[in-house]
Amino acid sequence: MSAPRTGLSWGRRFLMCPPDYFGVLYEINPWMRKEVPVDLDRARDQWGELVATLVGAGAEVELLEPQPGLPDLVFTANAGTVNHGRYVASRFRHPDRQPEVAHDVAWFTEHGFDVAHLPEGTRHEGAGDALPFRGVFLAGYKSRSDAAAHAPLSALLGAPVRPIELVDGRLYHLDLTFCPLDDRRALVAPQAWDAYGRRVVEALVPEPFVLEDDEMLAFCANSVVVGTTVVMPACPPRVGRQLEAWGFDVAVVGVEEFLKAGGGCRCLTLALDVALGPSGPGIGGTAALVAPPPSTGTAAAH
């Protein structure tokens, strides 16, 4: 391709939450063990480094206030799903995380987002299970989120939603198995999906990079992309070589304390500037920064 490649059209504004009250206080995924203690100082350092790396790559980070008794509030990826300034609040499967929603909703309301809710009885765990790629949201289901949520989610977000069934209990959110890199490329772990999900992604992603099992289990897919910088919890040599060949810069930020709760870099962030599809009536809101749609010409990356 002769035209310069633009980076991801979104991913320059994130919501994050400091880990003041982080810990593994309950077990709701196979990675969590209450008896494994969290080193809170180390967690703060790792979190701080993640923020610095994202800002250094050109992103803005906004903060959600941490709350005692809500250790997983740090994983803002699950606060909800955002499109064109509309925030659709999550409905958590586990009662342990359900109290987080009130705080998430309060933040989005205060910050001028249009707040919407999925129908009661449908479960969906936010951007952790809904990632944008080429004009559609790929949405994981079965472990935590319900397929039944996808139709109302699509209506509320104003964009198509394509369900992907997650079949590996360790990879319980889509964002542990899929990482959009730009409008053509993504890190993918199809072994975590069923046959139909694999076909859907095959049809959607022109240049996928397929992660091997150990790369997948090292949370490589749970990375954050800011422009052409990929911020990763780990980067095995094979993955690094391909990313560099594609023109990405790789920044590794160790987040081992957070992996104890089953979350990596992506889980600790929520992109606020996703803008898929036309922003028609009903999808509105006054988001301060909305990235322009991808253009074929100018290189916006730096």
Partner: protein
């Protein structure tokens, strides 16, 4: 027995392969589906929607299957009870009444699906005080009867595909004059044996050509042999059957030779007259006027028959019901338990019978005229097999197989 329920799937069900997945899940679980409705969204943002009727072997398997489908986003369609309205006047249905088909039908009352007891097409559904539901033809509705309105709370079950040995399986088309008849007759005989072994009744609908072609004795033998359990016919068939016994002719044509004797064209009138003198066919048998034939065997073996009248009848015979509405009701009364219907060279009574039968009664239509057979078998989704052949040869061969 099978159980079924309607579900719907909504969203980007085509691109996401969810519809394909749902259909595969149903088939892999040993169930079946009918796609009732698909609406494809106009733009890439509009969702698509599909409604399916899902069928499984029983309620329990259906419940498990539906639970699995719900995981992939398919939902039970919200169902409501059927609405009813009391008829104001005898014989007049409320406007907007639900009009039945001949398929197995259920009506939802107080949250439970109730089977309609006697499926029949072109009727209304009436709910009894005990909560039972029957089809009722327009003329039999009484003032105050609760009649089901509209379509909400009513569902119809498509027939299960026939399993096991069935003549329908080996024929690609249902009607043709170019099929091996010997094989067809053998298969029909097999189906009749199977029906009788499982307690089903055989109904024969006979047109006058049965007698003209010399098949009377074979039909009589089938009645005598206990194969035919119910007979529907008209004045013509009964008259020529009696004429053939008493005078050896049918419509004046000797059944043993070609040339009609002089005056033979009035033979049937003389026979009708003598039966009228005696008051009934049974009386004519009792006093020895009729000594053989199909009607004779029906009387002797207590095989019920209904003779429906028509505007062109001569006489008619005293047993013929000249009030056609009454005739149809008499036919309805003989239908419970009928598993097989043989339509032999009849158009009028065969169509009338076809209109009364529930779907699922195996129907065999025999006529020399392909158009008649096509007309009879082309009646919708129930199981009908058309055989284009001379009815005389057919019935004789059938009797040979069965007796």
């Amino acid at each position: 027995m099978s159980a079924s329920e309607t579900v719907e799937v909504e969203g980007h069900i085509i691109d996401s392969l969810i519809l394909a997945k749902v259909l595969d899940v149903i088939l892999e679980a040993g169930g079946d589906y009918t796609i009732l409705d698909v609406q494809i969204g106009r733009t890439s943002v509009d969702p698509s929607r599909a409604r399916l009727e899902v069928t499984a072997a029983d309620e329990e398997s259906l419940g498990l299957l539906i639970e699995e489908l719900q995981i992939h986003g398919a939902n039970r369609v919200v169902q409501t009870d059927a609405a009813t309205e009391a008829a104001e006047v005898d014989g007049v249905l409320p406007e907007g009444f639900y009009s039945t088909t001949n398929l197995p039908t259920q009506v939802r009352i107080s949250g439970r699906w109730i089977d309609v007891e006697n499926p029949e097409m072109d009727c209304a559904l009436v709910v009894s005080p005990e909560g039972r539901v029957r089809t009722v033809p327009m003329h039999r509705v009484h003032a105050g009867d609760p009649v089901v309105l509209g379509r909400a709370g009513v569902r119809v079950r498509a027939l299960e595909r026939p399993r096991g040995a069935s003549p329908f399986e080996f024929m690609a088309s249902e009607v043709s004059s170019e099929k091996p008849k010997e094989q067809l007759v053998a298969r029909v005989a097999e189906r009749i044996r199977h029906a009788k072994a499982t307690g089903g009744k055989v109904l024969a609908v006979c047109g006058p050509a049965v007698i003209h072609t010399g098949a009377g004795p074979a039909v009589a033998a089938l009645v005598r042999g206990g194969i035919i359990d119910v007979l529907f016919a008209g004045n013509g068939f009964a008259t020529h059957d009696i004429e053939s016994n008493v005078l050896g002719t049918s419509l004046g044509v000797p059944l043993g030779e070609d040339l009609p004797p002089e005056g033979g064209h009035s033979n049937h009138l003389r026979v009708i007259n003598e039966v009228r003198r005696r008051g009934s066919i049974a009386n004519a048998v009792a006093d020895g006027y009729i000594t053989g034939g199909v009607m004779y065997e029906c009387v002797q073996h207590d095989v019920p028959f209904v003779l429906g009248g028509s505007v062109r009848d001569d006489g008619p015979l005293p047993d013929v019901r000249t009030d056609v509405v009454d005739a149809a009701d008499a036919m309805r009364a003989e239908l419970p338990g009928v598993a097989i219907a043989l339509m032999l060279a009849s158009t009028l009574h065969a169509i009338a019978t076809g209109n009364l039968l529930p779907a699922g009664v195996e129907t065999y239509c025999v006529d020399i005229n392909q158009a008649v057979v096509t007309k009879l078998t082309d009646r919708g989704s129930h199981q009908a097999l058309g055989i284009v052949t001379d009815v005389g040869l057919f019935v004789s061969t059938l009797a040979e197989h069965l007796l």
